[in-house]
Amino acid sequence: MAHDKSGHRHEHHHAHADGHEPTNDGSELTEMDLRVRALESLLVEKGYVDPKALDVLIETYETKVGPHNGARVVAKAWADAHYRQWLLEDATAAIASLGYTGRQGEHMVALENAPRVHNLVVCTLCSCYPWQVLGLPPVWYKAAPYRARAVIDPRGVLADFGVSLPHDVEIRVWDSTAEIRYLVLPERPPGTDGWTEEQLSTLVTRDSMIGTGVPQAPPPTPKERR
């Protein structure tokens, strides 16, 4: 945790990291940059906000919590039949057993894909998403085109992601209207017999756990893997 980092040092670091940020002399500060800086300084001065808490919150979701957590859950379910059963029966407990608990993942349900069943998760009303296993949602998940179309035309949605499923696959959509959060358990790719959980987790994409994608195929070196 970056308890010792000041807000300015944190800012400066990212200014160079992603190229979107204002220069050191502030000459490129946008209206939103100025507005948020002013708001933060006001709320700190009022004593409502600890600026170091902001650093920790931001760092947590930029560096610690992300789809690699969910990938570990999925890989374990692929490799371990007992864990898979537990995940499908009580996802909250099964996921917590790997150390993933808390905010925006308090009540989890895992959705099992099958040869003729594909699950897709959306929040049509806002942006509900299982933070503790997938991190913060991507922009498209929170934006109108996805929220509008997922519940009526999921095949059209999948086409935008370059995914085409056979016509005999039934698409089940889950709208996250309450505090239940959903994680799709995609099908284990063929050609991965004998793979370790760690190897399997490299095939699990974020989108395959939302339902807008499928896992990656294994590279064509099966003999070395076995």
Partner: protein, 219 residues
Amino acid sequence: MNGVHDMGGLQNFGPILPEQHEPTFHHQWERRAFGLTLAMAGAGMWNIDQARAARESLPPAQYLASSYYRIWLDALSKLMLERGLVTSEELADGRLREPPARTRGVLTAERVALALARGNSTQRALAGSARYAVGDAVRTRVVHPQSHTRLPRYCRGKYGTVAKLHGAHVFADANAHGNGEEAQWLYTVRFAASELWGPDTTAAAIHVDCWEPYLEAMT
């Protein structure tokens, strides 16, 4: 509220544009806006349902034209103004004019990890038993409250089947008023896609989480 946030089934928004290797935040101000929103939630002056209600009751054109974290910021400003935590003059230029109001706490850096790991369970004990069981046929009510609800317009007055019972949970519609949680039994209800959209759908089924007051029994 029948607002523009209730987007399920709307058309003509154009294609979904996934970004390869998308960063967690796109601008420095988004990082701080995210942090400020979570930190101010830690002040305990509003609950998550009040925060959602504040976001979705922004003027419709503003909501549709705003980026996600801008909506968060505008709603945060609104919540703080309503509770007297800041004044509009202070929000305009960030200069302190009034002494701070009392809050219920400050989320300090040391407490962040624990607060995130603990989360906020919405499950509550509730006397009695749930009215419906898995497999029961139900119909969603036809309601159009002007206040916050989590029953989307596309599935009001529709026939479905109870797929799962999740126990009793804080009832968002009540909690958004700030007058108590009024926990209710929560179900996942499965709707055949044709029940919602007729022939104009490529889905097989849509599942929506519904508190018991959203439902009536089919006999």
